[in-house]
Amino acid sequence: MNQSDRIFNNIFTVQYTIKAFNSINPSQRNYFTGFPNLYNIKVKALSVTNINPSITNAVLTLADRKKIIKLTNYPIIDLSITNNPRLKLFNIDGIDLTSSYWIIGGSGVGFGTDTLLFNLHFHY
């Protein structure tokens, strides 16, 4: 498991806009939608950027195309390069983003409209 020889073929940023505070439902599953070119990808690394500092309640669940959960309630803050200087490496095949979702618990979202960016490093 040597990360020094990893070469990323594709880096795709999935942008998600988190709506205003009063339209966020805590514990609601927010599924990824609208990325047909990201079906059945092999995720090799994952990071988040432009994360609102108050979004410390968000967790991510990734499922593959067989609906098997690979990451269960993964704290999104751990993927932030700002918070955690080392890029998180993954080896997850067959990811289906439409079966994957993130959840904000409690009231951790700031006011106004925030944008959450997931940076997927992947192969097909």
């Binding site: 498991m1 040597n2 990360q3 514990s27 410390t56 309640n57 967790v59 959960i69 690979k70 990451l71 269960t72 309630n73 993964y74 704290p75 803050i77 751990d78 918070n83 955690n84 200087p85 080392r86 998180k88 490496l89 993954f90 080896n91 997850i92 959840i103 618990g105 409690g106 951790g108």
Partner: protein, 134 residues
């Protein structure tokens, strides 16, 4: 320095309940981790994840320093009274602690409250297990 490549991960929560020094709280049975091989473990404080997925307040970074964890393999306490704060990557320049492919007996594993300083009743300690399936 090698960092683990994550294949599967599962976030497990232990609620401390009414806190008292030397109180031990066992992990619950987690079907997804039964028979799995665990190779890395992380913890998080309220600075990382303020509210757990179950809605509980997560211990503070100082609170992690009040708790140790013991992991059992079979009947052997392989990891004994490990300071939980050492598993928080954000406190360790982002490094995750690696373990030698342990098939943990979670229900015989437990956290121990060493001191009540820095923690409050009904706060939770979070463990993120990185694992390979059987």
């Amino acid at each position: 320095m090698i960092q683990p490549i994550i294949e599967n991960s599962y976030l497990v929560e232990i609620n401390l309940g009414t806190i008292a020094a030397q109180k031990q709280i066992n992990f619950n049975f987690i079907p997804q981790l039964e028979g799995s091989t665990i190779y890395s473990i992380q913890t998080f404080s309220a600075s990382d994840l303020a509210i757990s997925p179950n809605g509980s307040t997560v211990v503070s970074t100082a609170g992690l320093a009040a708790v140790t964890v013991t992991f059992t393999v079979g009947d052997n306490q392989d990891i004994y009274l490990y300071p939980t704060s050492d598993l928080r990557a954000a406190s360790n320049a982002g490094f995750q602690r690696l373990f030698n492919n342990k098939r943990l007996n979670l229900t015989k594993s437990f956290v121990t409250i060493q001191t009540v300083a820095g923690i409050n009743n009904n706060e939770s300690v979070l463990f993120l297990f990185h694992y390979r399936t059987k």
